[in-house]
């Protein structure tokens, strides 16, 4: 098992390095690096000074190593727009994005698994078919459009919920969160639901497919031959078997949700990382773009690593096979 963990860790490091090369190549090698690192509004003298100071006359590989060294120290440049360290800016916004992402995943799992199991148990019943059709709709709906429609219906026409922004926050364990205030929750509902829809559909489909397959297997028949009730069979025998692929997908999708929050945050003006990067792309604030990409890639790699390890822990067959 330890060998497996070490191998996976090494792989993650390698991927991170590869990504850093790509980002470096994209930012520093394509186009004139001067435009990227130095505020376009600077004058000639400043540019000359900055060129030397940034070491832009050094060979490319030296620049790359410098880049790595600075990145390791957490220095990914200063934002042109805000004139603050780019990484710091992004990290400030991270809690808001995480809050949104976690809420969305929670909605998806808590509602998705039971609905999916139900649909898998009775695929031909009216409810089962409705859930299945609903799930197809769920991942066909363009998230950005649904967001707009949610605002239109719940904020503009009905006036029940606020249309944009994040609600009041409280400080919990050193992090500002809006989960524990009523106002915070009111602002969270629409964007979290918007972000959750795709994942909800995904979880429903996974649970449904898994349930359908598992119910045909002999061990379910044997469980029924033992006289077990439907509740126990679904809740223990079926659930534990379908949970393994669901956990894997949900884990990986969490990274996707964090990335996809870009869309929801833009529509609902949610002050997270995603909104920041879209704005930054618009004004070509390169350091912030780099900081976002590097951080998000790191998060995704970390999540994937965690999921792989979790999968090994959950499926006894994998765990023991690796131990051999």
């Amino acid at each position: 098992m330890t060998a497996f963990v070490i191998r996976r860790l090494l792989q993650s490091v390698v991927v991170m390095l590869a990504m850093s090369v790509i980002v470096f190549a994209g930012v520093f090698a394509i186009g004139n690096p001067v435009d990227i690192l130095i505020n376009p509004q600077a004058d000639q003298a400043e540019i000359a000074r900055a060129t030397a100071a940034f070491g832009l006359n050094k060979p490319l590989w030296v620049q790359y190593l410098d880049f790595l060294r600075q990145a390791a120290r957490g220095d990914l440049g200063r934002s042109f727009v805000f004139n603050e360290p780019a990484l710091g800016l992004i990290l400030q916004r991270l809690p808001a994005t995480l809050e949104l992402a976690l809420s969305a995943m929670l909605i998806a799992v808590v509602f998705g698994i039971p609905l999916g199991i139900w649909a898998g148990m009775r695929p031909d019943g009216a409810a089962g078919q409705a859930i299945t059709a609903g799930s197809i709709l769920g991942f066909s709906l363009p998230t950005f459009w649904v967001g707009l429609m949610l605002i239109l219906v719940f904020a503009v026409k009905l006036g029940w919920l606020p249309s944009t922004g994040r609600g009041a926050t409280v400080r919990v364990l050193g992090i500002d969160t809006s989960l524990f205030t009523w106002d915070g929750l009111r602002h969270l509902v629409l964007p979290a639901t918007n972000l959750a829809l795709f994942q909800l559909a995904l979880v429903i489909r996974l649970a449904r497919a898994g349930t359908r397959e598992v119910l045909l297997l002999d061990y379910i028949k044997f469980a029924r031959a033992k006289g077990l009730g439907t509740g126990r069979i679904l809740g223990v025998h079926v659930l534990k078997n379908i949970l393994i692929p669901i956990v894997t997908v949900v884990g990986i999708e969490f990274g996707a949700v964090i990335a996809f929050a870009v869309v929801t945050e833009t529509i609902f003006a949610w002050p997270g990382m995603g909104k920041l990067i879209i704005d930054s792309i618009g004004v070509l604030d390169r350091p912030v773009i780099v900081a976002y990409l590097v951080l998000t890639v790191a998060i995704v790699i970390a999540i994937n690593l965690a999921v792989d390890l979790l999968y090994a822990a959950l499926d006894p067959r994998v765990r023991l096979a690796e131990a051999k």
Binding site: G26, W145, A256
Partner: protein
Amino acid sequence: MSLAAAPVDRRAETPWRRLLAEFAGSRLAVLGLALFVIILSLALLAPLVAPQDPYDLAKLDLLDSRLPPGSHAADGMLYALGTDDQGRDLFSAILYGLRTSLWVGAGSAVVALAIGAAVGMVAAYAGGRLDAFLMRIVDIQLSFPAILVALILLALLGRGVGKILLALVTVQWAYYARTVRGTALVERQREYVEAARCLALPTHRIVFRHLLPNCLPPLIVVVTVQVAHAIALEATLSFLGIGLPVTQPSLGLLVANGYQYMLSGDYWISFFPGFALLLLIVSINLAGDRLRDVLNPRLRR
């Protein structure tokens, strides 16, 4: 006791007939397929069907901007779905937008399929370390969210049709590579390939008459999923402003244009393009979903 039951009359059931019959068993799937065909036809015939060429700036009348659905132009033309902020007939704009979505989606899928299939085949037949290496790259690529990959490429490379296509292809190729490799590996070892070899059939015959038909089912499923995904991704990127340029009619762009007018009640500018996009994606997914169920060997008893 009576004689045994009379033999049941059955037509010979070829695999294709059975596939079609099973597919048609779901009304939703048939509906999806029909819807897709309609949308495809409308999009292909857009220049003929659209009452207006929405990208001919000379034809646009700013005075007609933001008219609700059902209004008429000065010359009597009906704005069936209203107009946007530039006075563009939304119905025409949507038709052209669908066209763009389809060719971008299908085009990127084709290219990605070619690349992915090549990589997958090479991996499957080379085996050993090359296979392991290629598949490791595929796995890593797949572990990254599509939107993040697209963001990385577009943020660093800038806008433009070519760059969007590149992003879409990059996002998709890995799925094809993995699917093709998987089926190629399985099929290669199957007895019928051995049998065909024993019969000294020429290789191309083995590949085309025997291997390919068996590789198709999973591939068909992946293609439908990926095309729908690519269409949605392009629209999302265009909505965010980092996708297709303003000169290319994208449904995402149309929705983005209407965003600011929503709060004042001119909902149609965002609603109809998005709804058209929804119909397109849903139709592909409905049909594709049924295909997947029908082709899934594990659900057969």
